[in-house]
């Protein structure tokens, strides 16, 4: 596999990015409560820095892994990159179209058929009708759902649901692919298939950012990795070294 990582060409840049979640210490849900507390100056929040001064650059064509404990800020990092959250401080620059592999089938509607959902889901990912028509047959074939494609999606099993979700999200070769612990879709043969598809993206120059708890997968796939801890970058570099730092940290 000949891949070109252009070190002069960034795909994603995070510059001193911080994200602060503001959690009310007590839930204030009504106007009345809010008004009373506001008058009493009693609205208190727990400020929580999910990301704290994080900077790194992912180069074009690179496969970049994020590891860390639950709540270390991995998913928040992905959200900041994919434009879901605007950082509280700092700056995020993204060079190219992002395809987020979201919780598969999040936008599906149970009463619509598989076919209708393919177009709806594609539209949610920002594709046009023409772009979806071009890949429609491929999606149906890849998801192995041809006989059921006109049935309402509520009749699908959870495996079929996930297969369709993956097929739609990965139908186009994106500039940048965001993966949040997603390669556990369907049965073993489908997992193999989806894994191969991602490797194919990689060889076509797609930049990949992935979050995983599977260290084997990180080491096997990634060119570089970063270790996050309490919203800070603890280590960044060769996957083997970063994983070692993560493991030594655990003990």
């Amino acid at each position: 596999m000949d891949r070109v990582i252009d070190l002069n060409q960034p795909a994603i840049e995070l510059r001193n990015v911080s994200v602060q979640y503001r959690l009310p210490t007590e839930r204030v849900g009504t106007f009345k409560e809010y008004a009373i507390r506001w008058l009493q100056r009693k609205i208190t929040y727990a400020h929580f820095w999910a990301l704290d001064d994080v900077s790194f650059t992912v180069h074009k064509g690179e496969v970049f892994g994020l590891i860390g404990h639950n709540g270390a800020g991995k998913s928040t990092t992905l959200k900041v990159i994919s434009r879901v959250l605007r950082p509280t401080k700092g700056r995020v620059l993204v060079y190219g179209k992002i395809a987020p592999l979201i919780e598969l089938g999040a936008g599906f509607h149970p009463e619509l058929s598989g076919r209708e959902n393919i177009f709806l889901n594609g539209a949610l990912l920002g594709y046009t009708r023409e772009q979806m028509e071009a890949v429609y047959d491929d999606i149906v074939e890849f998801s192995e759902l041809k006989p059921f494609i006109d049935a309402p999606i509520r009749t699908y099993s959870s495996g079929m649901y996930a297969r369709l979700g993956f097929a739609v999200a990965s139908a186009h070769v994106p500039d940048i692919l965001i993966l949040d612990e997603i390669l556990s879709v369907g049965d073993e043969s489908f997992q193999k298939k989806s894994y191969d598809r991602l490797l194919g993206f990689q060889s076509q120059g797609t930049t990949v950012v992935l979050v995983s708890h599977g260290m084997g997968r990180i080491e096997e796939l990634c060119d570089r990795a970063a270790l996050l801890e309490h919203g800070k970058i603890k280590a960044i570099g060769k996957p083997a070294e970063v994983i070692a730092a993560y493991r030594s940290d655990q003990n």
Binding site: Q9, P87, G90, H109, L112, L120, R129
Partner: protein, 274 residues
Amino acid sequence: MSVTIKPVYDSARQSNPALTELKELRNYWYLLKQLVRRDILTRYKRSVLGVAWTMLNPLGTMLIMSFVFSNLFHMVGNYSIYLLCGLLVWNFFSQSTNAAMSGLVWGGSLMKQIYVPRTIFGISAIGTALVNMVLSLVPLFLVILVTKSPVYWTVILVPFVILIVAAFSIGVGLTISTLAVYFPDVLEMYQILLMAWMYLSPIMYPEDIIPAQYLGFYRLNPMYWMIKLFRALIYEGRVPLLSEIWPALAYSFGALVFGWIFFASKSDEYAYRI
């Protein structure tokens, strides 16, 4: 050294949220169509008569109300048509603003995972209501034909009035959805408000039952003007006076601009809040 190319997304480059939102909405035009299509298709998916319910619903309400009220208010013209005109405008407004609000709450789970323009759920709710409104013009004209009432040439101006009501609904819908993100209770409060608002609008009763000394207040109601325009075209068959058009236009434009800016100014916070 390296070639500097422009980033597709730069979190620091956002001069005006209201304009960014407008620009992004254009990129997601296909999604807007898909969302409207989904709402229309799924609403009646399991019923036998399907979309026909959109037309049967106002017709049924009209029949019941005509039966109850037609003896109460002695009106010169055809009460059924008078009522149906008011009802269609009102239903459009109340349904679309309600749907905009619940749409944002529904879309919340999606907005936490992928980027879509935040206004799209509100706008698509108006789009759905717009389709329903146009469909329910069919029973209106059916009633006009059955009761052998005149059809005036002024009906060709109806699309303008619908646009005015749509713009007003978008403004109100975006405003209350913004509030609903911060205070979920707004969802319930709005139902009560709508009920009061409906009785304060000349939908099922003639305007002249309002005592003269209250008329000044009564006419502050934006829906009063919207319904008046719609009725002028269909029920009375006259071109509305300028003095009737400008209040409706002002309310509609004002609400749209306010709602859009208010919503967009908070849009970065939704993913944090919902």
